[in-house]
């Protein structure tokens, strides 16, 4: 099949970027989207041009490193799918595809389609953990946790930290990412000890990173490859208000 690509090229953070046209022919519809970019890069390299820089690693939808806006949609047209799991069969022959980076004030562009998502790491280091040191744990069965609670915690813990929620949000809010971690931990008995400090610190860090405020458009849930529910955000707001009222 044939595709007409419009790819965002930007040398570095300071430079101006622009969309550049490339036409690829003879593509196999079973190719993955990233393999299509590999093919483009191979062509560029052999022609003496610089290849397109894009983020990826596991190529199986779990590391959260890949991510781009494809025709304006984070991770492309398929629901609950990362960019690396998208295949050309989701596009039509001769289609024009716009490929751009995840954009947000808090995710500065490094080069081409690569952005800096280290703000997410800083949100986690502000409180997204249980404060337990190696070697302190009691026997795992000392604390039974119901099947339902574990499954609910898992649903939140499934976030892969890709940043699609931020990129898709008109406010560039990181509420879905942050709330998923808060909920994962607060649902479990181990995480309850620190629930107050955790939510306050993480929300403050989120604001300090210049992510926008959530205005409940729920666009994030639609684009999230892991299907993280916006109910996490509601629960985070509850936790935050609860913590504020109990703060001494």
């Amino acid at each position: 099949m044939k595709l007409n690509l419009k790819v965002w090229r930007q040398k570095d953070r300071e430079s101006q970027g622009k969309l550049v046209d490339y036409v690829l022919e003879d593509l196999n519809p079973h190719m993955s989207f990233l393999e299509m970019l590999d093919t483009l890069n191979e062509r560029l390299i052999l022609a003496g041009d610089e290849p397109v820089e894009f983020d990826h690693d596991c190529r199986e939808g779990i590391c959260g490193q890949c991510g781009m806006m494809i025709n304006g949609i984070a991770h492309g047209p398929l629901q609950n799918t990362t960019t690396c799991q998208l295949h050309l069969r989701s596009f039509t022959n001769n289609e024009t595809i716009f490929i751009e980076p995840f954009r947000s004030q808090a995710f500065p562009i490094k080069r081409d389609l690569r952005v800096d998502r280290s703000a997410f790491d800083r949100i986690i280091s502000s409180g997204g953990f249980v404060s337990t040191n190696t070697g302190q744990a009691p026997d795992a069965h000392a604390l039974p946790i119901s099947h339902q609670v574990t499954e609910a915690a898992f649903d939140s813990a499934a976030c892969i930290g890709c940043g699609a929620c931020v990129a898709t949000c008109k406010n560039s809010s990181a509420a879905l990412f942050t709330s998923a971690k808060i909920n994962h931990l607060v649902l479990l008995p181990q995480g309850k000890e620190e629930r107050q400090e955790r939510v306050i610190r993480m929300v403050e860090q989120m604001d300090a990173e210049e992510f926008g405020h959530c205005s409940n458009t729920e666009a994030c849930e639609v684009e999230c490859p892991q299907g993280i529910s916006v109910l996490n955000i509601a629960r985070m707001n509850y936790e935050y208000n609860r913590a504020l009222t109990r703060r001494k």
Binding site: E53, C63, A137, A157
Partner: protein
């Protein structure tokens, strides 16, 4: 060279206790004077970095991804083993030790294997305390499943994301220390060389992958937790960036490489569908709990699998290994698949796959039960292939997956370079010639949480009066200059073939001659071919761009240049071992029924290779293995 594994005194059960009792300690006031470099933030790296920082050491942690949470441990689906015996089905530390040693075909150290089984108990406790949401039963207690090569249920899991959930636990512990300033984190930094001062590991040279700038980092000890190098085959279940470069560059500085050719080829990955393909996605082995593997009895079968009647199917694992059936260990399952595919019974457009069928399980247990157990895997299968595995069998095939080989380490996980440790998949230690499913998340974790904190401290106790290591030492100048020269050399070639071309070609040579089956002529030929390919690489590879900027092609070129050397060593290793054991199947050494023939009289040792310089043949050293508790037996899963 005398390879002393430093196994502690005492009975098997007492050895680790004895080590801990007599290990040297560093008092808390001195710890903050000692700096440790940890390369890698997977389960092994994150856990040791967090643990050392909690104890009070100064830690620097490095990874090439843009966040430590993306280390390839994240991709493990199936589960993690622990001898908790929560199922009351007769499990114990001893039984896990037996299964692991036997699964590894008696090519691992008894003491190491026993310690891993012993530490497995605490790992589950640790992970639960961190908030890892392992699957639970309705009563609230932890659930287990069964994995290949064992007859008990000892595998803990978190849906199909055990690796990501365990890694998040370790990552969060790491980020907690980063927040406290106890760990300095360097994401998107790749280690390009090891620095030795007076024969001891004292630092590394890294390249900032976003800017291309080289940096020096000094420390009292260096820990490599850089994962596996199975990506050397190009098509593999590993991530695109997985590499052997950190351990290889340490190897060239004196650390011996053990059993480099022992690479596990996993039986259940998705088959290759074209030459554009960049990876083979793993379908968790846990699927073999309920899926049945078969091929048609006829070679040129064209019918849809659902239309092929039972009596025209060959459930070859159930036929050949009735006791274990579809849960036969990986090496055996992969080889059995290759045997059927090579004999012309393969299915799919390229005739390179076998069926994994859930029809019986769905009929017996109901679709919702299967959905609950494997829903995400079936979803993944549909996303990648476009097919619905609830309706028709999956198509699977073997794929390079895990490196049992790696840097040689002693019982303390220290390499032959003083002060250089190797943890997790980067070392060779616990799995022998074949790793059992769900044992490597375990190994990576216990290396980092429970073993290295003691053994690294034991080493550091000798450094409390050393003072800060100076990164302006002439050895750092020398190492940095060499790295710079190497990058320049690569960029200057300016040929006409891409880095991927060389990687794919090397991968094909290794699959054909140093993969599931090996023989003398093939391996000798492969060595010649790899040498030719390497020569061609240095003449004709084309790398665009500059070294002082982000440059993915330059990163890949560095990794592939190392692979071109590692591949050659793998062939030497496979060639020198005239027996079949675990993943190493030499066609000359098999029984009339096609089963592996181990040769304990001559090959009951670990091969540890020394770098002899560019162009020279590597030098073999042997660590003899002795079995005091469990006498080697022929591995039978019939």
């Amino acid at each position: 060279m005398n390879l002393d594994a430093k196994i502690p005194e005492g009975s098997l059960e007492q050895k680790w206790e004895n080590f801990k009792k007599t290990a040297k300690l560093v008092n808390p006031a001195n710890r903050k004077k000692l700096e440790v470099i940890v390369v890698g933030t997977g389960l092994a790296g994150s856990s040791i970095a967090a643990s050392l920082a909690e104890m009070g050491y100064q830690v620097k942690a490095f990874c090439f991804q843009d966040s430590p949470r993306r280390a390839h441990s994240v991709a493990a689906q199936g589960g993690v083993n622990a001898a908790k015996n929560y199922k009351n089905d007769g499990d114990s530390v001893y039984r896990m030790f037996v299964d692991t040693l036997k699964g590894g075909d008696f090519r691992a150290r008894e003491a190491n294997v026993y310690r891993m089984a012993e530490c497995s108990l605490n790992l589950i406790d640790q992970a639960v305390a961190q908030g890892v949401p392992f699957g639970r039963e309705y009563g609230g207690y932890l659930n287990n499943r069964s994995f290949g090569g064992v007859q008990v249920s000892r595998t803990f899991y978190a849906r199909g994301q055990t690796g990501q959930q365990l890694l998040l636990g370790a990552y969060q512990a790491l980020m907690r220390q980063v927040g406290k300033g106890a760990v300095k984190l360097y994401s998107r930094h790749e280690m390009l060389d090891l620095v030795l001062i007076d024969g001891k590991a004292r630092g590394i040279i890294v390249r900032n992958l976003d800017t291309g700038v080289l940096e020096r980092h000094a420390g009292h000890a260096v820990i490599l937790a850089t994962g596996g190098y199975g990506k050397i085959y190009y098509l593999s279940t590993l991530a695109m960036g997985c590499n052997g470069s950190a351990i290889w560059r340490a190897h060239k500085k004196g650390a011996l490489m053990a059993s480099p050719s022992w690479i596990q080829i996993h039986p259940t990955s998705l088959p290759q569908s074209g030459d554009y393909q960049s990876k083979l996605t793993l379908m968790s082995e846990s699927l073999r709990n309920d899926g049945r593997i078969w091929v048609p009895l006829k070679t040129d079968e064209t019918r849809n699998p659902n239309d092929i009647p039972e009596n025209e199917r060959d459930y070859y694992l159930e036929r050949r290994y009735p006791a274990f059936g579809n849960l036969a260990p990986r090496d055996i399952s992969s080889r059995a698949a290759k045997e059927r595919i090579d004999a012309g019974f393969g299915i799919g457009p390229l005739k390179n796959a076998v069926y994994l069928d859930f029809a019986k399980a769905i009929k017996e247990q109901g679709r919702s039960k299967i959905e609950e157990k494997y829903g995400n895997l079936f979803d993944m299968y549909r996303k990648i292939t476009g097919f619905d595995a609830y309706e028709e069998p999956m198509m699977i095939s073997p794929s390079a997956h895990f490196s049992m080989g790696g840097l040689w380490v002693d019982y303390e996980l220290m390499t032959t370079v003083p002060g250089l440790f190797a943890l997790g998949e980067a070392n060779f230690a616990d799995h022998g010639a074949n790793r059992l499913g769900a044992n490597s998340l375990l190994q990576a974790s216990v290396d980092g949480y429970f073993i290295a904190p003691y053994t690294v401290a034991n080493y550091l106790s000798g450094d409390i009066h050393t003072g800060k290591i100076d990164d302006q030492h002439p050895e750092f100048d020398k190492a940095q200059a060499a790295v710079e020269a190497n990058l320049k050399k690569l960029l200057a070639i300016g040929g006409n073939k891409t880095v991927d071309y060389y990687h794919k070609t090397l991968g094909k040579i290794l699959y054909d001659y140093c993969g599931l089956a090996r023989n003398e002529a093939g391996l000798k030929g492969a060595i010649v071919e790899i040498r030719k390919l390497r020569e061609d690489f240095y003449k004709n590879v084309k790398i665009p761009g500059d070294s002082i900027a982000m440059n993915s092609e330059l990163e890949k070129a560095g990794r592939v240049s190392d692979y071109l050397e590692i591949g050659e060593l793998m062939c030497f290793d496979a060639l020198s071992r005239n027996e079949s054991c675990g993943a190493h199947f030499r066609e000359e050494y098999q029984t009339a029924e096609g089963e592996a023939m181990r040769n304990d009289a001559e090959f009951q040792f670990i091969s540890a290779w020394e770098w002899a310089g560019a162009g020279a043949d590597p030098v073999l050293h042997k660590e003899e293995l002795t079995f005091e508790v469990l006498k080697p037996i022929v591995r039978s899963y019939k």
